[in-house]
């Protein structure tokens, strides 16, 4: 699985939308929402490369690439968002 935190600086970003854009196999087109502390978990049914998109209102979107040697592996990631210019 992929465990992560969405934050801007040191501030957690809740209700960010985390989506697997491409994975090593078919993935459901659901959007995971980060929790109040910015945390999220993505299930990973296959080994290989995952590309995550992270979107939150008023922030510039970010992408994260994660490679898992095995489906049961766990990766820890941080999505560091930047605020959009006003």
């Amino acid at each position: 699985m992929i465990r992560g935190i969405v934050r801007c600086g040191n501030t957690p970003v809740p209700f960010a939308r985390i989506v697997v854009v491409t994975g090593p196999g078919p993935m459901p087109e659901i959007a995971i929402l980060s929790g109040p502390d910015g945390s999220f978990t993505v299930g990973t049914p296959y080994p290989g490369r995952y590309l995550l998109a992270v979107h939150a209102d008023e922030y510039r979107p970010a992408r994260l690439e994660v490679t898992l040697p095995e489906a049961s592996s766990t990766a820890e990631v941080v999505a560091a968002l930047e605020t959009l210019p006003t």
């Binding site: 854009v21 491409t22 078919p26 087109e29 659901i30 959007a31 945390s39 978990t41 590309l51 979107p61």
Partner: protein, 325 residues
Amino acid sequence: MTATLPAAHNGAVTTSDPSAETSPVSLTIPESDLVQSPPSAGPAGALADLAGSGAEQLAGYSGTPDAPGTDLQELLRMNPPDAAEATWGPAPAGQPALESVIFPDDRVQIGDTTVYPWRVHSYLLIELSNGSFASGTGFFIGPHTVITAGHCVFAQGSGPGSGWVRSVTVMPGRNGSSLPFGSVRASGSSLRSVQGWTQNGDSNWDIGALILPTNLGDRTGWLGFGVYDDNTLLSSIANITGYPGDKPTGTQWYHSRRLSSVAAQRIFYEVDTFGGQSGSAVYRLVNGQRHAFGIHTNGVSPGVPVNSGVRITGPVFDRLKAWKA
């Protein structure tokens, strides 16, 4: 608090009846052999099919609904440019470049979601079994029945958040922070799927339903649904509207294109989608009547460079009709 993405499965395991209904509680199932269920526009305020093109007519929307259908094998040989790549640059080395928003990104936002058919489509706030949240899309097929993907009601896998979700809050026609029809929460026996999904994890049976405690559909109207042969589908425009996660929260976006390919239990299309649109109707518009023929479930994946969903076959139709009753 964490949020968990349910894993997709393509399990080959079968049971004697993968269309058999499952729910957190035991249920009795009526049967039917009809092949088309009628839509209802509900109260006044329906969008007309002015052009008869098979696509919805929206200001500022050009789309590419008249592009010829593309054979899936041809698509497998292609490597179409990608809208995301234009935004973020090329994919990392070794990373598949294909994504579910297929160049050009000409999706259009629905400005007035209080009008039929847009009010039929609902933002789904999903509370997973571990208390974390996800979002998806669903659509009314009757006064109290919302159809969605199976993985929006039952998350496959063994990780945190797997199994039956705690609840799904349905927000018809959500438009940003506006909920023009309020919201209804479904949980427990209101959550339905089929054995093919909950027991086998078979993506051909990735369907689910929410049986609402109110007849909110009488205010929104609903889509019809039907079973169509390959030739009819391949000549149809696939219309999809829903709540993609790459757009501002709770905003509804529409796109349409001709189908790319069909299989016995799946349909394939280049209609642009994004995470959060699982459970969207894939529907046709003919003579002003809107009938779903599929349920969107997956974006692109290695070997399948187009988006896809569950095809409404006879057994799926029977299940939907039973859920509508």
